[in-house]
């Protein structure tokens, strides 16, 4: 049995058979996971310096030289690496006095910080499967981002206390700016918000829960929403980037909603983390530094703040190591261009816009398929996996360790 690292559900029930170096048969993968597995067989990277293929030792030595000579290096990525690789990365950042950040700084970080510090109540996905009668997808669209979420945990399964499942016992609700694939599935329970309007929407629900008439939105719909929440026995909210980007500094309103709901009934929150081990990085960083991301170890200190986010640090650092991530494709053009102009080291199993622009490319084994390790699922449950394909390629952890030794 293999584990899919295509998203933070880390499905552990994947059957995959190989023949002549290609997948001949797979079972239980969703479309996204299938793309992820197929990717192992195309566009693989080779060790490169300045666009020329070199041997691996030279690429590692060059990466070490760039980092050793940098005054303010940035180590970025990490959300697609195992906990073991992340721990090695944090050590490397300390050793170099570098800035370290991951994808959470511009996605789920502001919510994850509240989850890990206990300000917002959370639970496991197994609790959701066993107990939840209401699942709310708020600014998230699992049918696109976490395709097996509804079938494994939140809507279709027959859980311990939910044997009658979606036919009778479970309700799923979508709150979104558009009628996403998930919102279509929720049909009557789709609530549209205006872009950036999640704060107003939250205020309206809080008013309804207090027995008041909401001042904004479709009053009838808001009252209907409030009454579903009140009737819920055990509810789960799954916020996506739609909600987080919209709320940002109004996240306190969401905390208030959870506090209010938990006076009436039980409601828990699981952030819809995208990358397979973003949460793992946040947990490790919190354990080691007190902060979940955006930390600089410059001068032996532990400085934290927006100036140490990848978006800001891309402009101030003088070299960058990017691991398992493609910021040149995923970040705003200005940030991507700033990174592209740096001496850039890319550690990645596959070709990307970042590896194309990198001075040094170091190929790595694909986690789950070619490299084992441990990762934190979106709900924090630790999943250990073994590789199913033999490879000579080094894992992220081995590469970081080799770079550290060379430094």
């Amino acid at each position: 049995m293999a584990t899919c690292t295509g998203c933070s559900l880390l499905c552990e029930d994947i059957e995959a058979a190989l023949e002549n170096g290609a997948l001949s048969h797979v079972k239980n993968l969703c479309r996204k996971g299938h793309g992820h597995f197929q990717a192992a067989f195309t566009e693989r990277t080779v060790p490169m310096i300045d666009g020329q293929q070199v041997d691996l030792d030279r690429a590692i030595a060059k990466a070490a030289e760039i980092l050793r000579n940098a005054r303010s290096p940035l180590l970025y990525g990490w959300s697609n690496s195992t906990l073991e690789a992340q721990a090695a990365g944090i050590k490397l950042a300390e050793k170099l006095g570098a800035t370290i950040d991951d994808t959470s700084s511009f996605c789920q970080g502001i919510l994850m910080e509240r989850i890990l510090s206990g300000k917002i109540p959370t639970c496991t996905l197994d609790d959701v499967r066993n107990y939840a009668d209401t699942s709310i997808f708020w600014g998230s669209d699992p049918s696109s981002s976490h395709p097996r979420h509804l079938s494994r945990f939140s809507y279709y399964p027959r859980g311990e206390k939910r044997q009658k499942s979606y036919e009778e016992e479970r309700t799923c609700i979508a709150v979104d700016v558009r009628k996403s694939a998930t919102a279509k599935l929720c049909s009557n329970y789709y609530f549209r918000v205006a872009p950036g309007g999640d704060g107003e929407f939250l205020e309206a629900i809080l008013a309804v829960l207090d027995g008041k008439i909401p001042r904004v939105g479709d009053k009838k719909k808001m009252i209907e929403f409030g009454s579903i929440l009140k009737k819920t026995e055990w509810g789960a909210i799954f916020p996506g980037l739609g909600m987080i980007y919209s709320l940002q500094d109004k996240m306190e309103l969401f905390e208030r909603l959870l506090a209010k709901l938990n006076e009436i009934t039980t409601f828990k929150v699981i952030p819809m983390v995208g990358h397979y081990n973003m949460r793992g990085f946040n947990e490790l960083m919190r354990e080691k530094t007190g902060f979940i991301n955006r930390v600089s170890f410059k001068g032996g200190a532990r400085a934290h703040g927006p100036e140490h986010s990848v978006v800001a640090a891309a402009r101030t650092c003088d070299a960058a190591l990017v691991i398992g991530s493609d910021p040149l494709s995923a970040l705003p053009f200005g940030t991507a261009r700033a990174l592209a102009r740096l001496p850039l080291i890319a550690i990645d199993p596959r070709r990307s816009m970042t590896t194309d622009a990198a001075k040094v490319v170091i190929p790595s084994a694909l986690s789950g398929l070619e490299a084992g390790g441990t990762a934190a699922r979106m709900d924090g449950v630790r999943i250990k996996f073994e590789p199913i394909i033999d490879t000579q390629l080094l894992s992220d952890e081995q590469i970081i360790t080799r770079i550290m030794e060379a430094i």
Binding site: V177, R178, Y245, P306, A336
Partner: protein
């Protein structure tokens, strides 16, 4: 076509585009599923544009040429959707506040007829090196 139409672009996810990007960022399949903008019917009428037509999407940050696609959703005039990709990121400012979050879901831009072809990923790569 009308001269220019202003929209707010919200970036979203799509499983088909995601899968194509996982297989290859450099494929035509990924480009065809990324270099597009989903518009409300009224906005297409205002632009006198048809489904599939090339549009120049422009703001202070950058510009791209993408294909128009008619939205199947309930009416949302003035709001457009793009799948998150290097194309949409050409229009996202890296000026961020305390939260460190760029405005991926609130991109103000203008739409007009395009004189050139759909922006290629190689053009985006060249812009990064320029």
């Amino acid at each position: 076509m009308a001269d220019v139409v202003e929209v707010t672009i919200v970036t979203v996810r799509d499983i088909f585009q995601d899968e194509a990007g996982r297989k290859s960022r450099f494929s035509d399949e990924y480009k065809n599923l990324s270099a597009l903008i989903i518009l409300d019917k009224q906005d297409l009428i205002r632009l006198k544009a048809k489904d599939g037509q090339r549009l120049l999407v422009k703001n202070d940050v950058g510009s791209i040429v993408v294909a128009a696609r008619t939205s199947e959703d309930d009416a949302h005039p003035g709001i457009a959707f793009m799948y998150n990709s290097p194309w949409s990121n050409q229009l996202v400012s890296d000026n961020v506040c305390e939260s460190s979050i760029p405005g991926f879901k609130s991109i103000k831009a203008t739409l007009s007829a395009a004189e050139t072809n759909i922006t290629q990923i190689t053009e985006i790569q060249a812009r990064m090196q320029s």
